[in-house]
């Protein structure tokens, strides 16, 4: 008989506690993000596809076309091309193609770069039905960002 009463008392109490938990939640602000209407900005440490870092002084890229990233990439999705202008000692980047269809975002390219020339972007709206949308021309991207 004792257990019967205890069941009723504790049962009622726990039910009331349940209501007390959910009740205030009703009046709290909504925490979901209304995605297509409000596009959130990704956090600093988000690892999207790679992009070229902009050199603040020259406005161009830091890349010296050493080809380390191309070699470090396990899926060979990076193609770097450069040329040496007349009278210059350094190579200048002309083409940086990332084939994102093969990229697994491992980050080996960023790790291997000694010139701080590539970084992770914070891009995530990448859905497409067209394969060619995922061949990124990063030099063009750098120019567009300017």
């Amino acid at each position: 008989m004792n257990e019967y009463w205890r069941d009723i008392l504790y049962g009622t109490k726990s039910l009331l506690i349940g209501l007390k938990v959910t009740g205030p939640e009703f009046f709290k602000p909504v925490i979901t993000e209304q995605y297509p209407h409000f596009v959130p900005v990704m956090k600093e440490r988000f690892r999207g596809h790679i992009e070229l870092t902009r050199n603040e002084e020259t406005g161009g890229s830091n890349c010296v076309v050493c080809g380390m990233c191309q070699r470090a990439c396990p899926s060979s999705c990076i193609t770097v091309e450069g040329e040496k202008p007349e009278g210059s000692k350094k190579k200048v980047l002309t083409r940086y193609i990332l084939d994102f269809t093969k990229c697994s975002l491992c980050g080996s390219c960023v790790e291997s770069c000694n010139f701080n020339a590539i970084q992770f972007s914070r891009e995530y709206n990448l859905a497409s039905t067209n394969k060619s949308d995922y061949i990124f021309d990063l030099v063009k991207r750098l120019e567009e960002q300017r």
Binding site: E25, V30, I31
Partner: protein, 338 residues
Amino acid sequence: MDTSIWRPILYLIGVMAFAGVNAAWLGWCERKGAGHIQRRIGPKEVGPYGLLQPLADGIKLMTKQLLVPQGVDGILFRVAPVLAMIPAITSMVAIPFSATFHARPIELSVLLIFALASIGMMAILLGGWASNNKYSLISAARSVSQNVAYEIPMLITVITIVMLSGSMNLEEIALQQKGGFWNWYIFPIAGQSIAQAIIMPVSFLIFFTCSVAETNRAPFDMAEAESELIAGHMTEYGSMGFGLFMMGEYLNIVVGACLTAILFFGGWDSPLPFIPSGVLWFVLKIYLLIFTFIWIRWTYPRTQIYKLLNLSWKILIPFSLAILLLTAVFIKIEGILI
């Protein structure tokens, strides 16, 4: 005036409109309530605040084919969804919205409403049986056992109210609780003895639990039980057949809230005597009660069928019987003292 043909016609339109609007927009309320309790927004795309969502849902349901599967009992299968709606709409006739706003004053309105509520359960039974589907049949059996179990304590608590008020007319019962919230049957401190004031809240809890169970709402939605029985009695229904079942469920909630408001919260009576009473108070009370229904649904998980029946037979029925007995004793003592 009473014999005029316009009165029934106007009230028919009024009751139908009230029922239809409630059945449609309570779905919206429920989804909004569920959303905000889970810190989501709920429907928001169709119209401002998603207010046109019920229309969109209705159009979608109506454009679908009204499919009657092979092997079902044709007549009963078609009758069941209609039967889910009719008793709920009919019982609206007996509900007094205020002292003057009343479809038809009926002397035994309490009896009528509970009789109709029992018929509402037939919809689930017939729908489940006619579907010729194991899940539906289990759902029908469950809902019958559940309704039988919960009607008993519900009716016993109603009998205590009837004993206190000495009337089976809802209007009369509401009028007796007039003049401030301390006269309402949930806490009758001024009108009755102190002991009565202690047992009446318990009586209210029993009645409210039973009305949640009678309307097949979570946590007592054993008939629907998506995770075990797909959708129970609604499994084979599509299109507006399903829509009618859903609307019937919401209407039952409205009727349950109206009854609770009249029996325990004084109907259209304002909580303080100097504020005028009226229909608005009644509407406010029923929507607060409906909010509680929604709040309860999105707080508790579904119980198991045997726990559900245990709650009724082992706890609610003995308690309601004890309350009935105590009330009778108190009324007798007061009669002797006065």
